[in-house]
């Protein structure tokens, strides 16, 4: 793929993102309630105060006007202020991005490191005891609710054995990396568990298919060792379908893991999203969802690039 093609692809995403933004804006504002209803929850709030706030946030304007002013502001990098906290949206998101990337990134790498070998072993030793065990574990991983597993592990590691903290990103007052890693173990493992289960199944079936191909049989017939057949000849082709699945999951790292972050009191994007949703904090919600859409578009692009890298037969003109 050359630079011109890349640029073309990137420009092509602009109308897509614009359409997505219109859709998101519409859906958000169609949902019942508005940001000021949070304030109205307090019996001591006066209707005059609410009216003042409506004007201050531009909520008294017609929806199309609100949308146009949002789009122009967004594309000039002006993301507005959170209605809930009155702080700049960009600051609000940046603060939460770090913890989310740490948690999501760790669990992503962890998942890849565990899922791919598991899938390969499962495929190579099809219908063996190891395969059945891995299959059993992945079904467990796919079907076990995250919150339940989290609670059980918290009870075991934090309450019974007292070896790991039950929640939070750090011991208060400590900024050491070791302390952060200590807090990272449980949530990262739990987040990885479900991905590992899914990805290893994809890896297995993809590998099984490739191992049945003629060229693999030829390689075997030529007398190559089993290891060379699997890792030199089969693996590359087996990886291609996995890239799509993994790349799409990659985008979700940026959106945060709502349940895991809530259970482990992890100050990330997922929790920010839920709080903003419950308060209909339109500026934060729009920024978060647009960032999520953008991440998805970029991941798709990356997946295409990765295809080409793994399989030289794929060329983008």
């Amino acid at each position: 793929m050359n630079a011109a093609h890349l640029l073309k692809r990137l420009l092509g995403t602009l109308p897509l993102l614009l359409g997505v933004s219109l859709l998101l804006f519409g859906v958000l504002h169609l949902a019942p309630g508005g940001p000021l209803d949070v304030y109205a929850d307090n019996p001591s709030v006066s209707p005059e105060a609410l009216a003042q706030m409506r004007v201050a946030f531009g909520l008294d304007q017609p929806l199309p006007v609100q949308y146009v002013s949002w789009v122009t502001a967004f594309f000039t990098g002006e993301w507005g202020y959170s209605i809930r906290t009155a702080r700049p949206v960009s600051q609000e998101i940046l603060e939460r991005l770090g913890p989310t990337l740490i948690l999501g990134g760790t669990s992503f790498v962890l998942s890849l490191l565990i899922a791919l070998p598991l899938g390969i072993v499962s495929a190579v030793r099809r219908y063996s005891g190891v395969d059945y065990l891995i299959t059993f574990l992945s079904f467990l991983g796919v079907s076990m609710p995250v919150f339940w597993l989290a609670l059980m592990l918290q009870l075991l590691f934090a309450v019974q054995w007292r070896v790991l903290p039950s929640a939070g990103i750090q011991t208060i007052g400590s900024d050491s990396v070791l302390d952060l890693l200590h807090h990272l173990i449980l949530p990262a493992f739990i987040l990885a568990f479900a991905s590992v289960a899914g990805w290893s199944r994809y890896m297995r079936s993809s590998m099984v298919e490739v191992l049945g191909q003629d060229y693999v049989r030829t390689a075997r017939a030529k007398g190559l060792t089993a290891g060379k057949v699997v890792y030199r000849h089969a693996l590359r082709n087996a990886l291609i379908p996995i890239i799509t699945v993994v790349a799409l999951d990659f985008a979700t790292i940026l959106s945060g893991a709502v349940i895991t972050e809530t259970i482990f009191a992890w100050p990330g994007i997922g929790r920010l999203f839920i709080e903003s949703m419950n308060g209909r904090d339109y500026p934060v919600l729009m920024a978060l969802m647009m960032a999520g859409s953008f991440a998805l578009v970029i991941s798709n692009l990356l997946a295409d690039l990765a295809y080409a890298a793994v399989d030289p037969r794929i060329r983008y003109e």
Partner: protein, 510 residues
């Protein structure tokens, strides 16, 4: 009483919500952290009676603090400030700060949720540094449950600043026992001792006893309980009823029951549902609901109530019309109202089935459990209810606009509740469209007199009239269960919306 050795230590508190701002006037929550940092002129105590804080006494007609004008239409409230009080940056507190608080909160540019009370004030005079004379536009008996009780703002650091975006919202400056050391959003707030705090204990020991407090933000209630068990959190309130017994068995923890000023109720939508316009139908609902069963389903902690005024208040009326659980009576009333049992057991009138939607707040397990009991109770009388639960803003929107048939929920009030917001024809929280001129008259009378006897009489009569009319069925009053380390001394729960942290200076760790 704490001894000298019991001075020091840090208490870790678990909070179940994500703090939006530390400014008491603009937060969407009740201010827990704020209450330990910012003080008002007066505050409600553990029995919901107002006591002086920054003022030397609670103004009243008897002590001359409140003077009603000769025409009986306006009033003047005079506060004498405690001398020698300093902000936590060492500057003195003066009457100018009190006047500034009113001006700053009233300012239309300040986007605040709590502006209540600012419009009632015509002017404020400050004849000297410790005297504040507040001239009210009307006789406002509820003046203490607003404005200066929430907290005083520092003029010397906030004058000319934009309160919407000022750093005050992250690090409020107050006169309270603690000051904010660090606030990390989504994680924690660290409070440290205010070295200038004005209060001393009876032996002359400088308060507060604690070196500091940490408020940890833990949104998941199961995790909060886990943190209590591991000792990572030493105090947490609103423990789910289902987990109270489990915590009670944890060594080192005790459970404190706080009888908060709250009542749970079932509201009828009188605007859109014709069936509810018949008072006998409403009464049949009341007779058919087994309030003790509701309480039992919630671990037995809630207490059944017969009036919307909870028994804590002196003007609670025990002689209101009662609707004790009586299924036979409920069925008789429905029969008489023309609702006859249909083929599937559900009553029918003019071809219409007695089937309604009942809304509660989604995710609030206590309310959802109670809702199930109510649905089961009413089924016995031939009434079909279908849950229609909503969360967050959607729930509030439906509640205010009245987009429901029936609504189950609760209110928590200040020490001095204004019932007209719920039951007055123009009440801002009256989403059900209830209107009764007699109730309006009684509430206006109660809310515009300073005479305790007249106020009590009007409020007692209001309760009787309301229960006879029954637009809303009071079900239970739900206490808040607090889990706290046995090491904490001096802890007294507060039942009002000023939160448990309104007086932390006397807390100590053994």
């Amino acid at each position: 009483m704490a001894t000298a050795q019991q001075r020091g230590g840090t208490l870790t508190v678990g909070l179940g919500y994500d703090i939006d701002t530390l400014n008491v006037y603009s937060t969407g929550f009740l201010g827990d952290v704020q209450a330990a940092v910012v003080e008002g002129l007066v505050a409600p105590d553990a029995k919901a009676n107002y006591v002086p804080v920054l003022a030397t006494q609670v103004p009243s007609v008897r002590n001359g603090g409140i003077k009603v004008a000769a025409d009986g239409k306006t009033m003047t409230v005079t506060y004498r400030l405690r001398p020698g009080v300093k902000w936590s940056d060492g500057q003195p507190l003066t009457s100018a700060d009190v006047k500034f608080t009113w001006e700053a909160v009233k300012n239309p540019k300040f986007i605040a949720e709590s502006k209540d009370g600012t419009e009632d004030i015509a002017s404020i005079e400050t004849p000297n540094a410790t005297t504040v004379v507040v001239n009210y536009k009307r006789v406002a008996p509820d003046f203490m449950s607003t404005l200066f009780t929430f907290g005083i703002l520092p003029k010397h650091t906030l004058e000319g600043k934009d309160l919407n975006t000022d750093s005050y919202n992250e690090k409020p400056l107050g006169t309270g026992p603690f000051r904010v050391k660090e606030f990390r959003r989504g994680q924690y707030v660290i409070l440290e001792r205010n070295p200038y705090y004005w209060r001393k204990d009876s032996k002359g020991v400088q308060l507060p006893y604690l070196d500091g407090m940490i408020f940890k933000i833990i949104p998941d209630s199961n995790t909060l309980v886990t943190q209590l068990r591991t000792g990572e959190v030493q105090l947490a309130y609103s423990i789910p009823y289902s987990q109270v017994k489990q915590i009670d068995g944890v060594p080192g923890l005790r459970i404190v029951k706080n009888n908060v000023l709250s009542w749970q109720h079932l509201d009828f939508n009188l605007k859109t549902v014709d069936a509810f316009k018949d008072p006998n139908v409403r009464k049949a609902f009341a007779y058919a609901i087994n309030k003790s069963a509701v309480s039992k389903a919630l671990g037995g902690y809630p207490n059944p109530i017969n009036s919307v005024v909870v028994p804590v208040f002196s003007y609670a009326n025990a002689a209101v019309p009662r609707y004790d659980y009586n299924l036979t009576r409920a069925k008789q009333l429905l029969d008489a109202a023309g609702w006859k049992p249909g083929p599937d057991g559900i009553r029918v009138k003019d071809g219409k089935r007695m089937s309604f939607k009942i809304m509660a707040q989604a995710g609030r397990s206590t309310d959802e459990d109670a809702q199930q009991v109510i649905i089961a109770s009413l089924k016995q009388a031939g009434i079909e209810l279908q849950p229609d639960n909503k969360s967050g803003v959607a729930f509030r929107d439906a509640r205010y606009k009245g987009n429901y048939d029936l609504f189950y929920g609760g209110w928590i009030t200040s020490a001095d509740p204004t019932y007209s917001v719920f039951f007055g024809s123009k009440g801002v929280n009256n989403g059900q469209g209830y209107s009764n001129p007699r109730i309006d008259t009684l509430l206006t009378r109660a809310e515009s007199t300073l005479d305790p006897a007249q106020r009590t009489a009007a409020l007692r009569e209001f309760q009787s009239a309301l229960m006879a009319d029954l637009p809303s069925i009071p079900i239970t009053t739900n206490p808040s269960m607090i889990a706290v380390t046995e090491k904490l001394g001096g802890f007294v729960p507060n039942p009002t919306n000023m939160t448990n942290f309104v007086n932390t200076s006397g807390w100590y760790l053994k």
